[in-house]
Symmetry: C2
Subunit: 146 residues, 2 copies
């Protein structure tokens, strides 16, 4: 029985981020965006191992970290389940944000910006925004150059 939906893990070897951390971050992302709710089941350790071709210990390490954070709960014989949520934003708002972001991505794509470029711009803008709100006076430019 496969009662609940399960997250499907992905790996990006080029990112340089340790495998176990990628798993942790993916669960956290899914929680933030409401794709996972308390009670949902995470992929079985052995399934993740098989589909990602990684070591059981790596998955265990990720699950252990999630449990330490209080986000999940491992139940031997049953699986690993979501215990808490990180979702502080309503679904309607998220949908709206998603839709408008999709428009932006589409524009960027039209102009010729690739995914890496989009990510670079996004990171730059978010950092900019954060610094502007806290620092106020951005003494030495953020993405600036000098």
């Amino acid at each position: 029985m496969d009662g609940g939906a399960a997250l499907e893990f992905r790996l990006d070897p080029a990112s340089g981020v340790p495998t176990s951390q990628q798993l942790v971050q993916q669960v956290e992302h899914a929680l933030r965006l409401g794709y996972l709710k308390p009670g949902d089941r995470l992929p079985k350790v052995r399934d993740a191992v098989a589909s990602l071709a990684i070591n059981p210990n790596t998955v265990l390490k990720a699950y252990r970290e999630l449990e330490l954070k209080g986000l999940t709960e491992g139940r031997p014989g049953q699986g690993t389940f979501i215990k808490a949520t990180l979702n502080r934003v309503g679904l309607p708002e998220l949908t709206k944000l998603r839709r408008s972001l999709l428009g932006w991505v589409s524009d960027a794509d039209t102009v010729g910006l690739d995914a890496d470029g989009m990510a670079a711009l996004f990171a730059s803008v978010v950092r900019d925004f954060a610094e502007r709100r806290s620092g106020g006076a951005v003494a030495e430019g953020s993405e600036r150059v000098a």
Copy 2:
């Protein structure tokens, strides 16, 4: 003399990304966004070492990788200089995209989405967009979970 502008490196220890790779990625980002152009000088190895409190070999490793990619050129006695560009999008378009993205970030912030949540949404949307264009039939949501 400081003829040319220089990028200012940052480190994010929490990201899990190896230090040297962070440096490489920052240069690439700056190239994509037009913050760095051919002829610009990168921070001196010893300066980066001092400001980031890391090992010279770590900086060297990053610079060597950039040179291998054909993006930079190290000139003993002078410094390391940008040799190529990754910028395929015009500055006006980038500025426009940046401005509209800033608006989106502001909206997201208003609704209560934090930086991590924004990053999660962004990654999800970009992936979604990429899959939709290649795969075609992604019946129901991509960010779904399956």
